[in-house]
Amino acid sequence: MAGTLIYAEVQKGEIKKGSFEVTSKAKELGGDVAVCLIGSGVEGLASQLAKYGADKVYVVDGPEYENYVTEAYVQAFKQVADTVSPTVILASATAQGKDFVPAVAARLGVGAISDCVDLKKEGDKVVAKRPVYAGKAYAMIEAVADPQVIAVRPNSFAVKEVAGAGAVEKAAVSLDASKIKAVVKSIEVAQTDEPDQTEAEIIVSGGRGMKGPENFKMLEDLAKLFGPTATTGASRAAVDAGWREHSYQVGQTGKTVSPNLYIACGISGAIQHLAGMGTSKVIVAINKDAEAPIFQKADYGVVDDLFNVVPALISEIQNVKG
């Protein structure tokens, strides 16, 4: 039976959690699960994928894959895909995945389905559910031909330990260097261990009510208490005021996120913001305006001054943690 081929992404020497999520999901959907792992010095990571359902891992390993370059990765992946002939191709819709997936689909001459939050098997088809209009609606989409290329939003599926056969094979791949035109000159990554907002499990977000950039420190402190899967976010008002970088912005012209917990501090809840975080599993709102629209979406609301609530919450959580 034909099966699924997964693109496994490596960042900072680790396979991304989102890649494990789609691997477990592929196993659940049925059929053989193959994974293509691309990078430099990544062969040792291949065995981890077996734990989450990979039957076979194709490793493309070499110094030419040290940095992500779309064309090189697409060429390598396509050669593995040609060998495997999968009916479905899955990847995690991380920042890199969003660049990679449409490029790979275009190279294979098929369509892609971006940023899905659920997958269902209907006969030979995978019907993908994805938010559109930044989450104001959902579309159920299917591809007309194989391979059905689908990118899955991080945190949409649990990582499940399901053993796969886990055979590891070095893929024989040759690159056409003349086609690799974009050259990465330098990479600057902030020295932070915070996950990207689209992948974070917990987001502590601030809006106009934060009053200034210096006050985001307490949101960072709160996020740190939740551990390495937590980060901070911001509303458009806070970003437009210059208090936070655009990369922190959650909403229709920022990032669309689905964390397990979203804590909105001093965010009134404009329609564009609510669309961008409405799929969060649990929403907590802290705002002194009881009429703020954010309370209509919040599972738990605290109507009070965030400058009193947040510091108290920090010390209470420290107490709970002991």
Binding site: K98, A105, A106, V132, A298, E316
Partner: protein, 258 residues
Amino acid sequence: MNTVVCIKQVPDTETLIKVQGAGIVTEGIKWVMNPYDEFAVEEALQQKEKMKAGAVTIVSLGPDRAIEAIRTGLAMGADTAVHINDAAYYDKADPYATAAALAAAVKGLQYDAIFLGKQAIDDDAAQVPAILAEMLGIPAVTMVVKFEVAADKSTATVTREIEGGQAVVEVPLPAVFSAQKGLNEPRYASLPGIMKAKKKPVDVKTAADLGVSEGPKTVVKEMTLPPARQAGKVIAGDDAAAKAKELARILHEEVKIV
């Protein structure tokens, strides 16, 4: 420097979306140029101004109403436009079919660079830049926040947003670039600009005129609304400290996150 900017007309971000079958209710929607496309138009104009030469051409696939977004681009300062006005094609177009129509229109134009927004805020697919580049056989650089062209126009050095930071990429021209917020500050159309835009040439084509018959590669079967979220529990307490204590208890015992 000659540039092409591909734009899309989308519902304004304030729009409350109502679904109907496999689409949305379009009645009463205020249509605007996709916000990310404004950065693309602005960058093309700035490059033309810097080089003091070249033309900016807007290309858009959309029904009759899309002309308003095209005129906005012309009013900002673009020189000419191609309107692929084909409602039947547009209604079924997925990112692949959209890119096929744009590619066919772009093929007849002179360009050193093609700019697009990083995604359209209606279907949020963020695929067209990559597919368009593939169809034209040129490289794509997505999520661009800084753009510079060598004096001889042979290469561009761009900064793109990556996870947790930025990468500087050098790419030979022509190439496709998708614009992320932060690339520039889009200008507003001036009144004289709006007047002039009315007289600028817009070449109207159908998909058949362009020789495109590409069917969509993905099909929307149904649209639904997200389940309405019920307003939850308001945490009671005498003061902020008491409420914070109760919230910490909830996060620990009910949400089980602490």
